[in-house]
Subunit: 213 residues, 2 copies
Amino acid sequence: MVASNPRAPLSARATATRQRILDAALVEFAEKGLAGSRVDEIAARAGANKRMLYAHFGSKEELWLVVLEGAYAAKREEERQLDVASLPPAEAMTRLVAFNLRYTSRHPEFVALLNQENLHRAAYLRRSEDVPALYSPMLEALKGVLERGAREGVFRGGVDAMQLYISILGLGHFYVANRHTLSTIFHTPLDTEAAIAAREAHISDVVLGFLRP
Amino acid sequence: MVASNPRAPLSARATATRQRILDAALVEFAEKGLAGSRVDEIAARAGANKRMLYAHFGSKEELWLVVLEGAYAAKREEERQLDVASLPPAEAMTRLVAFNLRYTSRHPEFVALLNQENLHRAAYLRRSEDVPALYSPMLEALKGVLERGAREGVFRGGVDAMQLYISILGLGHFYVANRHTLSTIFHTPLDTEAAIAAREAHISDVVLGFLRP
DNA sequence: CCGGTAAGTAACCACCCAGTTACCTGGGGA
DNA sequence: TCCCCAGGTAACTGGGTGGTTACTTACCGG
């Protein structure tokens, strides 16, 4: 975590202005992407000014990286709350799947940020100093549930956890990321609660249906 | 289709320069997004010049829309080739699923374009005059296969075709769209042929496993 | 040979925008 | 009191950046 050590350079301190700039940048970046965002606009939204933005972050691109790392950290944090080890495997799996879709649809900014970063071929993320910290606790939880389910005979065995993890992410992420083009094509709103609940039910069906022994 | 009527305005004619500009724009837009792309760069890549670009397309944003429509059309065109009605349901389904992943991974520009357009909340697509043409023939094929499979007793019934269609798209699209961040996090290359084949096998497993009666 | 038109060249305009700088303010600690 | 420093204001710089225009070239059909 960022220390508030008064001897640390401003760029590493946790101050109110810094946080407001981060919040504003998250919104702006998610809406318009890195190239489409304007530094002046971010500063204005934050009720701050460019001078402080540059004092804290040094450049637009550094700010992007910090925002991106923060978005990952926020998701990891919520994932860590997910206590799934004590539930029966099928229920645990449903919870993992549902959590993922719900988090994703509650945080379309995260989706937008990820998409953008992939457009950049993860150039900024690769530069991050704590890439290992990006590794999700949810993948570990998933592995545990898969093993337990197979042992108890309620899931099929031999499932590749990483592939399934990517699938669970993708089933939710794609829906949220592409809701605008999809709903244009299908002439159906996709971000109502009813639509999201239907999607949740479907994704659960797919994953649990697949895992049947 | 675009006519080559010599009385039509330049902006609606199919000329060599126009096509080269479109090709160049596809590459540039996919690499850098709409805001990140430079009109001068597109013209240069096309071996053309800004003057002709503006004569044909009027603005950067109009060019974006034409490129996007073209990308959809190209995918629809290949989907139309997919003859799946004569195959047994399970095989037909495998083919639909595999086609989707393979097309997606052969055309990451399409993925990049879609992601960008969703960042813009489909603002350009909505303005398109032939949105209905975006509707995929693959969805119809999928419906047919689902019904046939259920009738023959090899698939479960009551499957929502649109949800499954979105899932099939998503299982491939997410993998391709996010391959850079995913491979950074997992320290594993994801765009080798072996990795793609593994993904294909997994997606097939998931979909067919889910569809078991 | 002539008129029409696709295509090219290069300069130009009016902003835009990341990043910098000089100077100011207000509060808290020694 | 005085210094330190987070934060603020506003102007400026320099390299873009979308879009336009005047002028030229080359080809093709009548």
